[in-house]
């Protein structure tokens, strides 16, 4: 595994979380 597989859309995250029965890691960041 080379990197974390970040999702980009919250709807996709919620669908995956329900399907895979896993909690969600939500990271708010500032690139500057």
């Amino acid at each position: 595994m080379a990197e974390i597989k970040w999702e980009k859309e919250m709807d996709a995250v919620l669908a995956r979380a329900k399907r895979e029965k896993k909690p969600i890691l939500l990271d708010f960041f500032n690139p500057n």
């Binding site: 597989k5 999702e7 969600i24």
Partner: protein
């Protein structure tokens, strides 16, 4: 986080295996408003329905990131009354990351989860005794102080 913690191999493996990760710019709406984001990084653990259960604001080095996320996962289970799952996650934190800043809270929550799943107060006293002996200066040792009176 992006330069130091997220590139670490054990962090990558942990996140990809145990969580569904998403990164958003701190001004992404409506989420920045919904989650009341005031500073970054804000690292939040949500359940499958998107409800918040745990938040860390500020940088986490690699050695603190995994136990902090495990504590978040345990809190999701605890809040949803899944005490067996919470206890399994908390026991892993305590056994595998005894020096983590997350561990005193994990011990406290282990005591509470043990009590709530059995109605036996002994886990609360055990949590106090472990915190008092091994983490006496932590805020969680102070919070557990009343449990010293359990007989």
């Amino acid at each position: 986080m992006g330069a130091v913690t997220y590139p670490e191999a054990n962090v990558i493996e942990f996140v990809n295996n145990n969580m569904i990760p998403i990164r958003l710019l701190s001004d992404t709406q409506p989420y920045a408003k919904d989650f009341n984001i005031k500073w970054t990084p804000s690292i939040i653990t949500l359940d499958e329905s998107g409800k918040e259960h745990h938040r860390v604001v500020g940088f986490l080095p690699p050695e603190e990131f995994i136990p902090a996320m495990m504590l978040g996962i345990a809190k999701v289970s605890f809040d949803l009354d899944r005490f067996k799952e919470a206890l399994a996650e908390l026991e892993r934190i305590i056994a595998e990351y005894p020096k983590s800043k997350a561990t005193p809270e994990a011990i406290y929550l282990q005591g509470v989860s043990g009590y709530k799943s059995t109605k036996d107060p002994k886990p609360l006293k055990a949590a106090y005794e472990k915190l008092h002996a091994e983490y006496p200066d932590s805020e969680w040792a102070a919070r557990a102080l009343p449990y010293r009176l359990i007989s």
